[in-house]
């Protein structure tokens, strides 16, 4: 890290103040209705200090953590996806003359404090999806460009995290304007701040803090190292080829026995981008609005074609989700679609664990059995 | 209809996709059961319920396999084009044709005496096996074609499942 600065916890409010002066709405994780969500914050006291997730397959609860850290919690239920790709939005309005009036994008500058490396990786992949193909989604671009990102490097994982095995964390390497390492040792509680962009550097220079020492930097690195080590879940290596070899494996039917095709996983997943477009017209037919909204491959009508759906069974729909995320994403976008955030594991009502399913498939392929434990 | 000598019939048989590659002795043997025939547009090669005593390798033209239905007239169930075989019921008892076979336009075909062929196959099982090996794929292909037509694969969605 070059040019790292150490600030006390109060420095966070200085940072928020600077961002507001520069015209940013400031957002961060907030606790509401027992869950963490992203929302506007006015000061660091709005952040869920001292709170952590108790997360396992099928359950996510907020509980008091072992220490009074500001950022020991990990992820809000939904990451930045909702900000750059609204759950629904109006695209245009038109009349029978097809004179189309495009809906302008409302994207005021927004600073988000506390973005984790997995969510940064997710944002990168959404950018590839919406800007990397032959057609560029300028609505996405406007919203993405309006973001200023203050990353936080995770010092502890939730039990559902597996970013280390996906090479997406816990340390943020790029894609942020500023990054914070929260260090609590020997009775001291500080933040080590580094910049990841030119405008981040300007903000860094405006913060009053001490230059970080070698020991400070070592403490930060040790924090993320032990976070990685503490992750006991991992995605088995070779998932891409494994899934492509096993379209017809009976294991998909076994997962389908549990899967409700409720689409929770696709809603909380920070990289799921599938959407649909629909018409909403006035009763008199004079105006029609074209809306775009999130959709999920778990829906029966998602693959509707010529009077019926292609994927009628839950097994083929679960297979589609997992195989798209872990295998076909490579062909389409050059990376894995999974960033190891673990949200799908926690938020699945029946506790289906994508890492366990891949491991089960690999084990059965090796042993030649089709029995599930 | 002219009778060619057996050797040139054997050449014709050897050149037909059904028998290409067979041992020359076998095509010679077959030649003894075969003769060239010529049909004009509308001529019948064979009729339903008739004895299945001659089947045909179609060399040029189209042969329509048909059924007559009271009230619906004459329906073609399959067109046998050049290079293919008209007639399969000669293989199994009761050796009677199920369909009419009618020439569409001018048809040149090699007729093979089924009784003669069956006798030769009985006498020479090795030859019989090779002939059956050639014939079975034709029947399988015809079955596949029929099955695919049964599922009405061009049906618009509204018609799917409707009584055909």
């Amino acid at each position: 890290m070059d040019h790292a600065v150490v600030i006390p916890p109060e420095g966070l409010d200085d940072l928020i103040g600077i961002l507001k002066t520069q015209g940013y709405q400031v957002w961060g994780a907030r606790e509401s209705d027992g869950a963490l969500g992203l929302g506007p914050i006015s000061s660091s006291s709005d952040l869920p200090r001292g709170r952590i997730e108790s997360a396992e397959a099928g359950t996510v609860r907020l509980v008091d953590g072992p220490r009074d850290a500001i950022f020991d919690h990990t992820l809000p239920m939904q990451g930045l996806k909702r900000v750059v790709y609204p759950a629904q939005e109006r695209l245009y309005v038109t009349g029978p003359d097809l004179a189309v009036k495009e809906e302008p994008v409302d994207a005021p500058p927004m600073a988000v404090i506390g973005v984790r490396s997995c969510d940064l990786a997710a944002l990168d992949t959404l950018t590839t999806v919406f800007e990397g193909g032959p057609f560029i989604d300028r609505r996405y671009s406007q919203r993405r460009d309006a973001l200023l990102l203050v990353a936080v490097n995770c010092m502890r994982p939730a039990a559902t995290c597996f970013c280390a095995s996906m090479n997406t964390g816990p340390r943020a390497e790029s894609g942020f304007d500023l990054a914070l390492d929260e260090v609590m040792d020997d009775g001291r509680h500080v933040f080590i701040v580094t910049a990841g962009s030119a405008r981040g550097r300007k903000i860094l220079d405006a913060l009053s803090g001490q230059p970080a020492s070698e020991a400070d930097l070592a403490a930060a690195l040790e924090g993320t190292r032990s976070c990685a080590e503490a992750q006991h879940r991992q995605m088995p290596a070779g998932a891409e080829d494994l899934l492509k070899r096993n379209y017809e494996h009976p294991h998909w039917a076994a997962v389908a026995d549990r899967c409700l095709s409720c689409a929770n996983c696709t809603m909380v997943c920070p990289t799921c981008f599938c959407g649909t477009v629909e018409d909403r017209s006035s009763l008199d037919g004079a105006t029609a609005e074209r809306w775009r909204r999130w959709d999920s491959c778990f829906g029966l009508e998602f693959s509707y074609l010529h009077g019926g759906s292609v994927r009628t069974e839950t097994a083929s729909r679960y297979r589609q989700w997992a195989t798209h995320k872990l295998a076909h994403w490579h062909d389409q976008f050059g990376t894995s679609g999974c960033v190891g955030c673990g949200r799908c594991i926690g938020w699945c009502p029946v506790g289906i664990d994508i890492t366990a399913e891949v491991a089960a498939l690999a084990a059965q392929e090796t042993s030649g059995t089709t029995a599930d434990d | 209809m002219t009778e060619s000598n057996i050797k040139s019939i054997a050449d014709i048989l050897a050149a037909h996709p059904l028998f290409a590659g067979l041992d020359p002795e076998i095509t010679d043997l077959l030649g003894g059961c075969a003769k060239n025939e010529h049909f004009s547009d509308g001529d019948y090669l064979f009729k339903a319920d008739g004895p299945a005593d001659t089947f045909y390798l179609v060399r040029s033209g189209d042969v329509a396999l048909e059924l007559r239905m009271p009230g619906r007239g004459r329906l073609t169930v399959q067109t046998v084009p050049a290079g293919h075989v008209a007639g399969a019921s000669w293989i199994l008892p009761p050796y009677r044709w199920r369909f009419d076979a009618r020439a569409v336009g001018t048809v040149r075909a090699t007729g093979i005496d089924a009784t003669c062929l069956r006798n030769k196959c009985d006498a020479n099982p090795s030859m019989g096996y090779q002939v059956m090996q050639r014939f079975l794929p034709i029947v399988a292909e015809r079955l596949q074609s029929t099955r695919l037509r049964l599922i009405d694969l061009y049906a618009p969605p509204a018609d799917v499942g409707r009584a055909l």
Partner: protein, 270 residues
């Protein structure tokens, strides 16, 4: 991507449930396209669907689209009065690789409505006849009343430039033509399989069996091309609906060389 307004200049019934629309851009800018590409057609207040362009790529003054009414949007398009507006986004998708047929035998195999997305190939081929060894058009459909573009098929069959074979799955007594599956006809019309480029479009099962029949007859698999379809919403690679395995049909297709989709087509509910 916003739709461009096009006016319905003329409509022409083809079959009981199928209509060809002739659309003209309100701003006068022609919509140039390559054979095989499609557009997203929008009907005000109803919705938007993907339709392959079926006109002559050398004449882009009108946008020609043949549509079968099977749902809300397609039925609205089929019954749209002349003079009404249609929103058009496109052209989208990959094209039939017609240049690969230069110096070779071109065989177009179409089933049912598949003659609409392949008709642009035929227009191109006839205009480039001297660069091709031969043109064979093989067409199959359910029954004689379902034959698409019958006058054109007749016209093509009577020129020296192309050979046409037509067959129907079943027929009544008035039909004197061929009866049988289109795959029955393909091997009889191949001239030199190793030197043939084939382009196939129709129901997916028909394409699978036809491609297999072509490959069995000796046409190199990389010279067999299919046009696939899946549910499309955005048509431009953002909505995820049109996936077949790793492929986004709207962006990597709809035209694919057979080897790229052959194994995917046989996987259940992929």
């Amino acid at each position: 991507m916003l739709p461009r307004p096009f006016k319905l200049r003329a409509r022409r019934p083809e079959l009981a449930d199928t209509v060809t629309l002739e659309l003209a851009a309100v701003d006068g800018q022609p919509l140039g396209f390559a054979p095989g590409q499609f557009t997203m057609l929008y009907v005000h207040g109803v919705g938007e669907i993907a339709i392959s362009i079926s006109g002559d790529p050398a004449d882009s003054n009108s946008l020609i689209q043949t549509i079968r009414g099977v749902g809300a949007v397609s039925e609205a398009l089929c019954s749209l009065p002349e003079g009404q507006m249609v929103g058009v986004r496109g052209p989208l998708g990959t094209a039939w690789p017609v240049e690969r047929a230069v110096g070779k035998h071109l065989m177009v195999v179409a089933g049912g409505l598949g003659l609409a997305p392949t008709r642009p190939i035929i227009y191109w081929a006839l205009a480039n006849r001297d660069r091709l060894k031969s043109i064979d058009i093989v067409y199959g459909t359910r029954s004689p009343d379902q034959i698409l573009y019958p006058q054109q098929l007749l016209g093509w069959s009577t020129t020296d430039d192309a050979r046409v074979g037509v067959t129907v799955d079943r027929a009544g007594q008035d039909w004197t033509g061929r009866v049988g599956l289109v795959t029955d006809l393909v091997p009889t019309m191949l001239r030199d399989p190793a030197e043939t480029v084939a382009m196939v479009c129709g129901p997916e099962i028909m394409m699978r069996f036809t491609a297999q029949a072509l490959a069995d007859a000796g046409v190199p698999q990389t010279d067999i091309h299919l046009s696939l379809e899946r549910n499309m919403k955005c048509g431009i690679g953002w909505c995820g609906h049109c996936q077949l395995g790793p492929h986004l049909i709207c962006r990597d297709g709809p035209v694919f060389p057979y080897p790229e989709v052959r194994d995917l087509m046989t996987v259940w509910e992929l």
